[in-house]
Symmetry: C2
Subunit: 193 residues, 2 copies
């Protein structure tokens, strides 16, 4: 039984992505050696360079996947609710708990900004999750649930706050306390009528 070339190619690429994700999450980008990822994926370094232009290229692809998943997880949590405000809170809570995932923690929050550069990281983060956050804030503002204000800087602030909180929780911080503190911050945005 012979395997089609396209199938074989796809399988190898997938194996490299999966194994890369495992090792990047477990050991951190700079401690991972590409030949070892390839070996664990059942191929050699040559295959890796046939599919990706560099070690950073493989990492970039992994980051993209993990970010995609994270975005979907957050969106799914938000969609459980009908009320805009509750959607927002649910999304934030989902993001915080996602920090316990080693892949999110090590790959997305720690390594990605330095390996890919802050600009590229931000661009990827933008369309994967920060965009949802900005959309939610815009919706909340136009619905009058929070005070009307420029959304972009607020998005950055909240994004940074939640990133750090996620890291803190993953490292032993009190998740419940973090959620409550974040909730107080968010509630403070509501108009004091």
């Amino acid at each position: 039984m012979t395997v089609s070339r396209a199938e074989q190619r796809a399988a190898t690429r997938r194996a490299l992505l999966t194994e890369g994700r495992r090792q990047f999450a477990a050991d951190g980008y700079h401690h991972v050696v590409l030949a070892e990822v390839a070996r664990a994926a059942g191929v050699t370094k040559g295959a890796a360079y046939h599919h990706f232009d560099s070690k950073a290229g493989l990492f970039r692809a992994v980051v993209s996947e993990v970010q995609q998943e994270l975005g979907e997880r957050v969106a799914a949590a938000a969609e459980q609710h009908v009320d805009l405000w509750e959607q927002f809170r649910a999304g934030c809570r989902a993001f915080l708990s996602a920090g316990t995932d080693p892949a999110v923690r090590q790959i997305l929050l720690l390594d990605a900004p330095t390996v890919l550069g802050w600009d590229e990281w931000r661009a990827m983060d933008e369309e994967a999750s920060a965009r949802h956050l900005a959309d939610a804030l815009t919706a909340l503002a136009s619905a009058g649930i929070i005070a009307d204000q420029p959304v972009e800087p607020l998005t950055r602030l909240l994004s940074g706050a939640m990133n750090e909180a996620a890291l803190w929780i993953a490292q032993g911080g009190n998740a419940e306390a973090a959620e409550q503190a974040l909730d107080r911050l968010l509630t403070g945005l509501r108009p004091t009528t």
Copy 2:
């Protein structure tokens, strides 16, 4: 005229720190080659390894210095004011504008967490600046200026928010808009009596 050994040693160490800081800030930790730092400092790699146990060791020492300076800058800005609340705001604003310093941006905010590991970075950040933030929040809470609440998670959230905002500003974000957004977040912490 002969130079004392201690003086020579101190001068070399200082030259390495200064040049290391320059290059780490300009090029990022992983793009810096240690031998080049040494050469620019007027010595060789051997001298660097005589003063620091590794490239990361030199980086650690640089991080410590930059963090020290940043803490003092923030504290100085806060001390310009008498009112507790105004002290707090001034400190936050000073931190935000500090992000435009390439050394703070590249070394402290981007590279330090991954190079030194998040735990060590957090420990250093703790005593250099996050501690002041926590102290300020504690003072504000016990003075009744903000609602009483656990200080630690709030400190992490605000620290993360300001780190991210500082990066955003340094990368072209609107500094004034960021300040205003942060101000709104902080104001939301005040009791709604």
